[in-house]
Symmetry: C2
Subunit: 486 residues, 2 copies
């Protein structure tokens, strides 16, 4: 592939460009992979808190599948369907799958909106859905505006194949990272000044990594702005079914269908959905593009051939999603379990004075460790992060990898483990924070006793006492009890 | 998507450009869809012979799945694996799947070569495999050389996303459509003269639509040419396990591993494989890229995220493919059934003097109807084809849609139906041919009695007797018994 664009891409990927989940996190994932925590067999290992995976309610799905052998073509009860399903290759997808998916997409949004099965387009996971949309909506070099912090793998999903540029809309903790029209206009104008053609605004609602939902007003503002400037509004709603507290979820579908954004051009609105998060089935590779634009539906449908969902999986899910009674029970129970997990985790952090952004959705909290930074820089954030990964042995994700402009925020996933593991993780964080507070207080007392010593040690001549203040690294010696925390 | 390349593509697709399976065949598929044959309920319907689908041995797989409930995560026996499999999202694929696939790829090639699991890259079907390879190997506007006739949907697989151009290497019936070095050099030089950069040679071996395998000498010639000119050799071997007669199948893997192409640059050789044809599982969307080039493996692997196979399906297939005893039995029995079907079909055609290209592989025959054309043109071929679709009610595929340069060839699929349906199809063809022969003989006798009438009727003033000679359309009146053949 000498000289091809793929070769250039590969070098960029290898250099860690454009794929946070692989690049920025690489160190943390490596640490986890080399020494994964196990409650019984490796209590000294790294706990994986960098994976937005939902394991809390898989037992319900597992039980449903055992109770419904007819839903699998690989059982005596389901085998009569084997031939039809195995041979099925229509890129429109199984009609019963699209029907059930459309119905479920309404159910997961509280029945407040309906979805048309003929607008449901199948893709290979949310990755495939974003890639397909980017291909349909933009040319290489065109840009999407994306509010920060945002899901790092959008760089892969929207850029690797389609060559879309992602330009940040800067959001801030001062208003809980709410997207404002001012920030949007500023990003849009900035792109135009650079001569970049803006083709879309890409939002995740509920937000990954914030764990919050977007309010109706913001959504209406976005729809109005998109209409006004004739840019697309791409709404990633893959956590729609993972909202566990008030305020409830408002889908863009609801906003445009209920007239919250008068005059809004529906042709510019597109939803990406998936079963990877709400159901914890990322392996099944179910991505959905739902567009209000007929041309996009037609084009995306044709492109489906590149990323169809296995018909074995379509068949199974069609039957499960069509079981409305089970789905209602699943959604309620999943929300209940997510809420319990979230509340316990956040309360556990609060015990040592660590706050999280108030959240009501998702599989993670947006943890505020700004107070623990040596200085307010991204370098200091990464320094703290390395300590958390290698010494505290928690693979969390630094805000930097989500393109967050304020250092000191971390995404911590809590739904990919059992209760006991989560308690171990909480314990490790709390001990780490307490030790940090203790060292800091001691250092401050020490500094107070020597008010005249103002000069800092030279680089390379760092003293132990300086390290104790300047870097959290120094908080933990290799023999630190934290290393063996459990 | 105003103004985007996707919009342009969509117009091209809508206009029928670049996708034979959809465009050229559209008429035939529509005829089939509107009136599908059914042995019991619609004996007057159109028989689908345009679908290269293997239904002959699915009963074996179905039985295996029922006998091995542990292979499905949706059974009581397999459910303990549900959580692990449903959550699995590593783009490398399940290790056991890659292991089993590599082993099976050797088995299907008679154990003469071995495949390295670390070079097995998963894609969404053969479509995804070709798309991934095209992305890795070429830039938009670069070309692949493809021997004719070739699989029409390569236009989709290689062009729609990656923008590769396909340039024909003209092959001819005079040597049974064998690819010669002269034809290859001529196509290569022609492309260079046009200023097009040739990046690869794309072959299907066994060939779709020819139903033949490529000999060792031709493969060695291709490998040498690729090395000499530094172009890639992409070998689509998706029918590797559907070879049912001598000469046996020779994989490019065998040629390069056994030294049949001395000095060959392995970095230029790539294989596409799939389970859609050999197993009749197109719905499962299993495509494989196997490359001897480390960079291509690395890049294709990264791109896997866009077209992963459902982990439910990976798990099932990993267990089935690893059952070497079953696989051996399946391959032998499948070949036996394919041979029986092929032999019966070809013999049935021979009864009325219709020949097929001698074939030893695939799910179809390349039927020679040149003698039935009004004239040696593609228009005449399509005219005959329309008669076959609408009056004879067989949806076969005209050579034109395979970019065949010689009018009068048709691909006829015979493995997507049961024995009885195939007999009905054979019967229809034979009656059609006999009627044609009868009318032709009569017309010739009539012409012989009027030797002096040389002028042809004017356009628009066509007489019935002229039509009887000039167009097969006239052979069948709307009340023709052929319409109700069964």
């Amino acid at each position: 592939m000498a000289g091809s664009s793929a070769e250039q891409l590969l070098s960029r990927i290898a250099a860690g460009d454009g794929h946070g989940e692989i690049s920025s996190y690489f160190d943390g994932w490596k640490a986890y992979d080399m020494n994964p925590f196990d409650l019984r067999h490796n209590r000294d290992g790294v706990i994986q808190m960098g994976l937005a995976e939902n394991q809390l309610s898989l037992d319900l799905i597992e039980q449903w599948s055992v109770d419904h052998p007819e839903a699998s073509i690989c059982t005596a009860q389901g085998a009569p369907q084997f031939r039809r399903i195995a041979n099925f290759q229509d890129y429109h997808g199984l009609p019963e799958f699209r029907e059930a998916m459309a119905k479920f997409m309404g159910q997961v949004r509280g029945g407040k909106v309906t979805f048309d099965p003929d607008r449901v387009v199948m893709c290979g996971g949310a990755t495939g859905a974003q890639d397909t949309l980017a291909f349909c909506l933009a040319d290489p070099g065109d840009a999407y505006l994306v509010p920060t912090p945002y899901y790092p793998a959008f760089d892969r999903d929207c850029c690797w194949r389609s060559g879309v540029k992602l330009l940040p809309i800067e959001c801030h903790s001062s208003n809980n990272f709410t997207l404002t029209r001012e920030a949007l206009v500023s990003a849009y104008d900035g792109a135009r000044r650079q001569g970049v053609r803006v083709r879309g605004i890409l939002i995740t609602n509920p937000s990954n990594p914030l764990g919050t939902t977007m309010d109706r007003g913001t959504l209406a503002m976005l729809a109005a702005f998109a209409t006004e400037r004739r840019v697309h509004l791409i709404c990633d709603e893959i956590y729609a079914g993972s909202v566990f507290a008030k305020p409830g979820f408002v889908s863009i579908a609801e906003v445009i269908e209920r007239g919250d954004a008068p005059g809004c051009n529906r042709d510019l609105v597109h939803i990406a959905y998936s079963l990877s998060k709400d159901f914890g089935l990322p392996g099944f590779r179910v991505g959905i593009v739902y567009s209000y634009n007929d041309d996009v539906v037609a084009c995306a449908r044709k492109m489906s051939s590149f990323g169809l969902v296995s018909s074995q999986t379509q068949h199974f899910l069609a039957m499960m999603l069509a079981d409305a009674e089970f789905m209602a029970r699943f959604l309620a129970e999943s929300a209940r379990r997510l809420a319990a997990r979230h509340d316990r985790f956040v309360a556990g952090l609060r015990e040592v004075g660590i706050a999280c952004l108030p959240g009501n959705a998702g599989l993670f909290s947006w943890m505020d460790l700004r107070g623990m930074l040596r200085e307010k820089t991204h370098d200091a954030e990464l320094e703290l992060w390395r300590v958390i990964v290698h010494r505290v042995k928690l693979n969390v994700s630094p805000g930097t990898s989500f393109h967050c402009n304020e250092p000191g925020w971390f995404r911590v996933c809590y739904a990919n483990m059992d209760d006991d593991t989560m308690e171990v993780a909480l314990d490790r964080i709390r001990r780490f924070v307490r030790q940090h507070q203790h060292s800091k207080a001691k250092a401050e007392r020490w500094a107070a006793t020597r008010p005249l010593r103002l000069s800092l040690p030279r680089r390379g001549a760092t003293t132990a006492s300086h390290l104790a203040i300047s870097s959290p690294l120094a908080l933990l010696s290799p023999q630190s009890p934290m290393v063996h925390a459990s």
